[in-house]
């Protein structure tokens, strides 16, 4: 009979190598899946993981895309990771992202055609505020009425999407857009444009802020009382109460923090790579970021690596679509499998397998 026995101390060795094992297993499984569908497995894996970075034909296009896609994922995931550690589940980051983008863009469009160095920082602030407000709704509903934040934050995503459709065809519509839906293109509005800081690198302010947030999160988590409180609440809620931590304060902090970051990510995206407020400028980053957070094991550096890995799979997926005719959405299968394998291998960090009878 096989039993699971808890380890006294989590295995440090396994904590480091399980992500690598999970990636390997995913490649194997994914390759097998491609083979079943009649696509060459090894070539497919190479196209997804290797070519975007190193293939002479594509790399120059896809490498900057890496940062473009990783930036928002990392930024949002960092925000989510705090709440997740404490059992506060913000599933609606996509909604906070959208509202942040709308608020930030609204500020820019209201000030158009003024040119000033202050406009962009103001937009960032507005984006952060928008995301914060949208996240406060589930936060307050949870602290006042004990309403489950998973469902509320999720429903608010749909509300945000409807709101987005409304403003892109109404309030924020481009008066010179010849009737097409969508706002003015912010890329053409210099003060509002979130441009590439280093040409050809894909690095815009959003990416910079994402990297800063990783460092900020690391410091907060390891050196600050707040981070300690969050970790403690997730590990041992009774001990957290004993240590004097008030759960409602933590809910407001974690949801607020993730709302701010998601809102900023939305703003950076809409004023940079996306360019304008349209009905569908949002590309699901808010949801993918949840996966990135778990893949990174809720650890800032892990999230940095996971964000880059996920971005790689997105680009690789697009490449595979181009080269092999594989549907782009199938890359989600890869991402899901990666998460599954990581969750499965995680068991062995805390538990040992024992053979034989118990009791």
């Amino acid at each position: 009979m096989i039993r699971l026995e808890k380890r006294l101390n989590p295995s440090a060795v396994l904590t480091t190598i399980t992500p690598a094992i999970a990636v390997l297993l995913t490649m194997v499984m994914g390759g097998a899946m491609f083979a079943i569908l009649g696509k060459p497995p090894l070539e497919a894996i190479r196209i997804i993981f290797w070519d975007p970075l190193f293939d002479p034909t594509f790399a120059s296009y896809s490498r900057p895309q890496l940062l473009v896609k990783a930036g928002p994922l990392i930024l949002i995931a960092i925000g989510l990771s705090f709440g997740f550690r404490a059992g506060i589940w913000n599933i609606g980051a996509e909604g906070q992202y959208i509202i942040g983008a709308i608020c930030g863009a609204a500020v820019a469009l209201a000030l158009y055609p003024l040119e000033s160095r202050l406009i962009f920082p103001l937009m960032v602030l507005a984006g952060a505020l928008g995301g914060w407000i949208w996240a406060m709704i589930p936060a307050l509903l949870r602290t006042r009425f004990k309403t489950n934040e998973i469902l509320v934050s999720l429903m608010l995503v749909y509300v945000a999407e409807s709101f987005l459709a409304s403003v892109s065809q109404g309030l924020l519509k481009n008066p010179e857009g010849m009737g097409f839906p969508g706002s003015r293109n912010l890329r053409q509005y210099d003060s509002a444009h979130n441009a590439e800081l280093i040409s050809g690198s894909g690095m815009h302010w959003g990416v910079v802020v994402a990297f800063i947030s990783v460092i900020f999160a690391y410091i907060l988590l390891t050196q600050h009382l707040r981070g300690f409180q969050i970790r403690l609440t997730g590990e041992a809620p009774k001990a957290a109460e004993f240590a004097g931590i008030k759960p409602s304060r933590l809910v407001i902090f974690c949801l607020g923090f993730s709302g701010i970051l998601a809102g900023m990510a939305g703003l950076f995206e809409v004023s940079g790579p996306a360019g304008q407020i349209t009905t569908d400028f949002n590309s699901g980053y808010g949801f993918t970021a949840i996966i990135v957070a778990f893949l990174g094991r809720l650890n800032p550096w892990g999230i940095l690596a996971a964000g880059l890995l996920m971005a790689l799979t997105y680009i690789g997926g697009e490449l595979a679509q181009l080269m092999l005719g594989v549907p782009g959405a199938s890359i989600q299968l890869f991402q899901g499998m990666l998460l599954f394998f990581l969750l499965a291998t995680d068991l062995f960090i805390n538990y040992r397998i024992r053979f034989g009878k118990g009791k």
Partner: protein
């Protein structure tokens, strides 16, 4: 605005059709959550059911076989979730979201060759006498078989939970898995079976979308129906009949606002499309503010037998 263009009878009839996929997924999830497990992967299970149901129906020219295979495929996929959460003790939220991703990706992959095709669909039943009744005929008795099957499933689940020993044990496991274990019940086995049942139901719901409601296969066609189903479970306080009402209500609001949009209503389209979600939030708040939510006591918590 031309309200006269809205036919109330057709409206109510289309309400049932609109609600059926969500109802199927929701009633399956009720069983899962009553056993104490939170499965956020309903969306992934539905879309898997949609693609498998469609593919099989096209290949066998039989929608019935399509439905059956959809249920089986989704149940099999949900087994991966079951193994991870019950045996590998993984976090249920993370695993559920992973399941959604796997489902979405897998279905996109499998469904690629089937895009643009038409599949055999379910005919509307023509029940003797009943279908010819003046108002109730088109309203209640002229739907396709699956609508009735979904209601039958609700009745079966309600009866099983309330009146059979199997249902009692399931509820006990969901309320207090430690006490259930102390009394000798196999918690993990029961939960795995519940998860698979929920998977099968979600598969049926998804297949209904691709075979009847739309009917076609497109990537990502469930468009959040799985999440709505999850909300409806809470909305209905984990009780089968209330979940039915919730699904029909949601279906009703959806269909109503679509009709209002078509009739050129004065309210901007976007606010109408927001309404079902806002109403859901309002009801969720109301239920949780009242206090006794009725959530199963062990919902979402991993069970590890400690002797």
């Amino acid at each position: 605005m031309d309200l006269s263009s809205i036919n109330p009878i057709l409206l109510l009839a289309s309400l049932m059709v609109s609600a059926t996929p969500i109802l199927l997924a929701a009633i399956g999830e009720v069983v899962v959550e009553r056993s104490g497990v939170l499965n956020l992967g309903v969306e992934g299970l539905m879309i898997t059911g949609a693609v498998i149901g469609f593919a099989v129906a096209v290949n066998t020219s039989s929608p019935g076989i399509g439905f059956i295979c959809a249920a089986l495929a989704a149940a099999l996929l949900s087994l991966s979730f079951a193994v991870l959460t019950q045996i590998f003790l993984s976090n249920q939220v993370a695993t559920g979201l992973g399941l959604t991703l796997v489902g979405l990706g897998l279905s996109a992959l499998i469904g690629k060759p089937y895009e643009g095709m038409k599949s055999p669909s379910l005919d509307k039943l023509d029940l003797p006498l009943l279908s010819d009744l003046p108002v109730l005929g088109p309203l209640l008795f002229s739907h396709d078989a699956m609508v009735y099957i979904s209601v039958i499933i609700v009745i079966a689940v309600a009866y099983t939970l309330k009146r059979t020993r199997v249902g009692l044990i399931l509820r006990a496991v969901g309320e207090n898995h430690h006490a259930a274990h102390a009394l000798g019940y196999k918690v993990i086995r029961i939960r795995i079976l519940a998860i698979m049942f929920g998977g099968a139901c979600s598969g049926l719901g998804g297949a209904y979308l691709s075979l009847v409601r739309v009917p076609q296969w497109t990537e990502g066609m469930t468009a959040g129906a799985g999440w709505i189903a999850l909300a409806i479970v809470v909305f209905g306080s984990w009780r089968p009949w209330r979940v039915l009402i919730g699904a029909y209500l949601f279906g009703g609001v959806t269909v109503l606002q679509l009709n209002l949009q078509a009739a050129g209503a004065a309210i901007p389209v976007e606010y109408l499309s927001m309404s079902p979600y806002l109403i859901t939030i309002a009801v969720l708040v109301f239920i949780s503010a009242k206090g006794n939510q009725g959530a199963p006591g062990s919902l979402g918590r991993a069970f590890h037998a400690s002797s």
